[in-house]
Symmetry: D2
Subunit: 289 residues, 4 copies
């Protein structure tokens, strides 16, 4: 018996250049498309009559990009899910996920260049756009936003069992690669403006949350600040892996660690996940998948 199922196309690499003005505009996206609906016959009996090829999903992304500037991620995602739901009779839910490469203009002699770019830091802008029937939902976000602080972070007073060997840490390096997604109430949003406010709220609250008792504690503070900065947001979900920095014991080398010599470790790593919701927020529906 066939249970839940979906299919789609991943990793569609669209680069759109707008050269209509001397100052070229560059949008560089990786797009994933997913469909759910009445596709059971393809699985059970091998009948493909309801199935839109995944190659056509790819082609659709490029075709719609050919209509003109793709503009904001969120808006382009909405055009795509609308197209898929309108075009594919068997599809009840269409999902489009987009990730943008963070290109910044190269500065030459102090001025931004018109058509030369370099990859910047600060994380990638993401969007997850769904249409379920006629219900459009937008979750914007940021991923690979790597931040670190060298003060203002402790981890003390935790639960201890027989296998707990570490002591309290009054001062440490706190580092993480933030992945966050925030759900908008509706689609009447200034996407770029809201994104910038949200991103800044995350980064600044990470920097200024100076009585951090844990990554959990900082995560919640960041979520609260984002909700405050963005009244159009109902809910924010964050995944924050801990990039551990361990003090190195220098005594075997006849030296004293002044508190500033660390080894950064890859594995294992802690991961903190949490959601901060605005009281009275609307139901999420299928916005998150």
């Amino acid at each position: 018996m066939l249970g839940s199922n979906r299919y789609g196309k991943s990793g569609i690499r669209l680069v759109r250049v707008d050269r209509s003005a001397p100052r070229h505009v560059l949008v560089d996206l990786t797009v994933d498309v997913w469909l759910e609906g009445e596709f059971d016959d393809a699985y059970v009996s091998g009948d493909n009559r309801a199935v839109l090829r995944t190659d056509t999903m790819r082609g659709t992304v490029f075709a719609l990009a050919g209509d003109g500037p793709v503009g904001e991620l969120e808006a382009f995602g909405l055009r795509l899910v609308g197209h898929f739901i309108q075009t594919v009779p068997s599809a009840s839910l269409a999902t489009v996920e987009l990730v943008a490469e963070p290109w910044a203009r190269i500065e030459v002699g102090g001025a931004e260049h018109d058509h030369a770019f370099t990859l910047a830091g600060g994380g990638r802008h993401t969007a997850r756009v769904t249409r379920l029937g006629t219900d459009d939902r937008v979750v914007a976000g940021v991923t690979d936003l790597v931040v670190l602080k060298t003060a203002g972070s402790a981890f003390e007073g935790f639960f201890r069992d027989g296998f707990t060997t570490l002591e309290d840490t009054g001062e440490r390096v706190l580092a993480t690669a933030v992945s966050a997604g925030w759900r908008y109430r509706d689609t009447a949003v200034d996407w770029s403006g809201a994104f910038e406010r949200a991103r800044r709220a995350l980064v600044e609250s990470f920097a200024t949350h100076d009585d951090s008792n844990s990554l959990q504690h900082t995560l919640y503070a960041m979520g609260e600040e984002l909700l405050e900065a963005c009244p159009e947001v109902e809910e924010v979900r964050m995944v924050m892996p801990n990039r551990h920095h361990l003090l190195v014991d220098l005594e075997p080398y006849g030296k004293r660690n002044d508190g500033g010599v660390f080894v950064a470790t890859d594995r294992p790593f802690g991961v903190i996940e949490g959601t901060v919701v605005r009281p009275g927020a609307s139901a999420a529906g299928r916005a998150w998948g």
Copy 2:
């Protein structure tokens, strides 16, 4: 307002060698641990009194491995989730995910060596074990199981819209990296025996499903065969990315493609997901997360 949340430790790299007999036994695991429960105070007010450190999760994996041979993934996972639920008062759900490296004995002169190993193919054995209160659940699986067939696979008669440009394909290369997880009815299972039956069912049905009309079609056939081979399994979930092989047009080079010259492409790629459930299967609870 804090919504759903969890935290844990990822990437715990445990290698357990049993040298009690001349024929050494090697178990090589990557373990992830997750806890859910009453941890709100850590997020909201920075009160860590309920929080088991993630470093203690790591230590626990090694400590329990010190008690003796770790044995089968599923059994070791059950010991771990049992320990966490018993030890951490605030935890209501404990999840342990395990992935095993597929070591095989080196053959020397036709005989298996006692203490020398090489990494084999055929995918990695996985397990996802949860305890919710007193309810133990086990999902076993396989990941990175890469398979390919050069005949017996078509893709025809699909839905066409205005952006569909490809024609029917009567014969093609079908390739995928199978990730599958199957949920056991209870925990009274011969874990290794069931795993081997399940894995063989997946691989052999992929090979012999010779009237494949799509990857969806093959996925369903594989799930059905697995349920038939493993009466102890209630449900199987599969994710199968399509590793596309495109026929190369050799005409510009003055040659004819005899149907056997392909370019393997990385991105974009189709992804097919599906669940095959035994009629009358028990509810999954939190087994899948």
Copy 3:
């Protein structure tokens, strides 16, 4: 002033299926092409008249694959470098590097399937083929050959300075991912036969070198055994990163480590490189790059 330079195409993904018999033959290669020669004008003055496009390098790989079965890596590489040197007047040195995916036939009911395959372990077969003028050179090799032994390996009596803190280890886990390349004397070689002998020599000598004093020691023993097994080989070069396995101190958990509980670490890792040369070996020329 322009100094040394070269250019080429990387990552050409050729899959060649031979369906001329019921038992299909599958060759899955990643090919890199490099040219050196008189290409200075392209760099210095932007004059492209001497430059073969890298897209043409790609096309050439597929075009020659269209002539019939590609056969052995080494032979296909020789055809390619011959073609490039003959075709491109400015090229004095052509290099082709090939890596083969290790596909194995799926077994169904104990018999190898005719047209279904799964990725095996045991490392990837590589070849590096060069033509300098009329001088053909072939280096075959293996990469990602991961091996591990749980006995027969020590590390003792090493040099100590003031920062040396570890003690001798009489018994340890020795693990590495072997990358090896061996240079053939000429091109009159049974490529597949020699490859199998060489690979087996590496794997078996790793397994049976039971008085290993270090990874260096084992590397040399492996190289010696390969030269003995393959009289057609002049020289073998090996890179062997140490996949460290550290004994876990279980005392803080109130347990004793019986010598079998390890943590596998990613970084940092030791790397051992070495060459074993047959006395009286011919000069390597540009065989290694």
Copy 4:
């Protein structure tokens, strides 16, 4: 017979925080150490008496970091190679490679924060420092410097053979991830100042080289500009993989590509390598390996 050989430690992850002033200083390095010399006995007879453990190389990096601020990469590398050559009698050549994570201060309310950082773009600063006997050499560089331009780049008039199918391109997207290393004449250098001048020369010349006929052409222009900006540099070596952007044919979708809809492809990709040397430059010795 043992031929050339070396060994070392890779991936030493040192993070050094200097909290001596309110404005904390953060240095985040990945360090590799290599030794060459009289280590034959370890390989051939398993005699380790000359061998410095790779674990001691790791410890040495942390121990020297404990002496105070590590300062500039190049200076820290010089201290390390000096230490190894002085300490290890068998070592004739010591090499230290360093890569720095590009942390930038988080801005809060327009001002740089004292102790909160985010990963920036613009590539990573690298250094390769060697001591051969008493001869110190420094190569600084940059890696992962991703740049792209949407105008000013053509590829025309190239060599054509029978397998050349593409036409001239008068206007295209040119993108690459620059890896460059530049060799200093001696060690009396303002490391940070020279690095900034060199990096800026690379980025600005990429942006302003507006009659680019090829990636080779641009590479050479970048090298020339770097030598002009940095009189202390003798030679620069660059590796520039081509990040291809292909115009998408939109005609099958009933649309016209206005020249701005591209697909970015991963594999295969062209790679251009080249060296630009100052006339009369000193010999490189073992500076490059």
